[in-house]
Symmetry: C2
Subunit: 291 residues, 2 copies
């Protein structure tokens, strides 16, 4: 019989080493690194708050219900990651850019590959629901030179606060979506509607969590952009309507100071509003960008 | 328009305060405490390892599959908690006991309420599968006085490594389960089989994780005990077969040095093996126990 008193077993004091030390020599190298940090922080969390058995039960039930709500149209774990700031943090860690370059923000769940390509100036609002707005600006490098051939993939909600994919029976397919490609002057211009604020899906476990934290589920109004150009790092971002009441309290923490875009009255123009915004791209593989 | 440059937004540097500071005044007090610690440690984790977008994708997918495998017979999130040591850590934090008192370990998923009550000496092995063993000992307080009326609820696997509830079509109902109540001398005695080691369910995401960490899924052989007595803190524990090859590497970290029980040959006895073990109970509500 083994003398158990000679073996270092799991205790409160040794818990991290006991778990991390269990990995075999064949463990996946990067996973082992991630696992060691996760064990360290998760155990520190449980010790800090002295996690109670009934709270552990609640957590198991919460995570289970979160997983079981997921299907091809709903990703409750992404929402959980969003409201705890992990989505934005991951984006921030992986897209550090020099001052002056356009910052990233979260992609969100509503991007669709394959939107129609339009000539500059086209109108992407197919249902006409919303206040008309002219979006325009330039795609530049960090020296201010125009970037030719940049693809600008845009998408937003309509006046009711829904994306086309959320209302396939109500909105026309590709409503408020389109792709535009810059010419040699680097400029872009398209018409659409001024986006409106909307709540993230909040009828599931994450919505219940927000209620218990006394938080609202709203995102401030924003236009989504994905800008790509050969030789430059992809930009995934939004421009925010600078006057939105939820700017200070985006449910998913996506707002950055540099991403506020003016939405100005456009008297005499073809649209009610006018929103200028320039995109500044950094070279692909530049030191910070490559992180 | 709000001057966005005047607002403190979410950045790598401010991420924890940005998220924790979002709670409203009506937040549930204990949840807010747990949440603040969780956000702090989760963000520190992501920063320490510089979590990559493709790793975030993998994590979302892993958690989703873990939730979706759960049903009334399978709880994959409990397994995840077990293999990362969180189940044992929660148990340890909540059941600190003075030296000499019997230590707790994890309940496990196979306890069933309502097992048959037996007279002392009864045999709980209904299928006869396994090497016969006599289990006996005393239930005492920390001064060594016998505790009368202590209920001892026991359960274990059979020779094939399965509990009755895992094989409802093969094993008799209540196989290797029973409840015994001590008399005034505090002793207990029952017959059963020597437990064997077995793997936790490892055909799901948690099993895949263990493979990637180069860990096996086995638990060393053990007999489960739940001991209750009026005025004393409930003990939920196992006794481990001290010679088991997995003693040093229990997949769920349940082994404690004090929980090794001798399994001795029992020549001339009615059983092949003999396993003595005393349970030492602390008063309910005692300082450490009340944690």
């Amino acid at each position: 019989m083994i003398d158990l008193t000679k073996i270092e077993y799991f205790t409160e004091a040794t818990s991290v080493d006991a778990v991390v030390g269990r990995n075999g020599p064949g463990a996946h190298k990067r996973l082992a690194e991630v696992w060691a940090s996760l064990v360290k922080h998760l155990h520190a969390f449980a010790k800090d708050i002295e996690l109670r058995p009934e709270e552990w039960d609640l957590a198991i039930d919460f995570l289970t219900r979160t997983g079981q709500l997921c299907d091809e149209n709903r990703q409750e774990f992404v929402l959980l990651s969003d409201v705890i700031g992990l989505s934005m943090l991951t984006d921030a860690i992986n897209h550090r850019r020099p001052p002056g370059a356009t910052e990233n923000t979260v992609l969100g769940p509503f991007h669709v590959v394959g939107a129609p390509e339009f000539e500059m100036g086209a109108n992407i609002s197919l249902d006409g629901k919303g206040e008309s707005c002219l979006f325009e600006g330039r795609v530049l490098d960090t020296d201010g030179n125009p970037i030719e051939g940049a693809r600008i993939d845009v998408w937003c909600d309509n006046e009711d606060g829904y994306y086309d994919v959320q209302q396939p029976d109500i909105q026309p397919k590709w409503n408020n979506r389109g792709i535009f490609t810059t010419g040699e002057d680097g400029t872009y211009q398209f018409r659409g509607v001024k986006p409106v604020s909307y709540p993230i899906p909040h009828d599931g476990p994450v919505g219940q969590l927000l209620i218990q934290l006394d938080r609202h589920p709203y995102r401030p109004a924003h236009m989504h952009y994905m800008v790509t150009a050969t030789g430059f790092e992809k930009i995934v971002t939004h421009t925010f309507v600078g006057s939105d009441e939820y700017l200070k309290s985006d449910a998913v923490f996506g707002v950055k100071a540099t991403l506020a875009a003016p939405f100005e009255p456009n008297p005499g123009g073809v649209t009610k509003w006018h929103s200028p915004f320039d995109f500044i791209m950094v070279p692909a593989g530049s030191a910070e960008a490559a992180e």
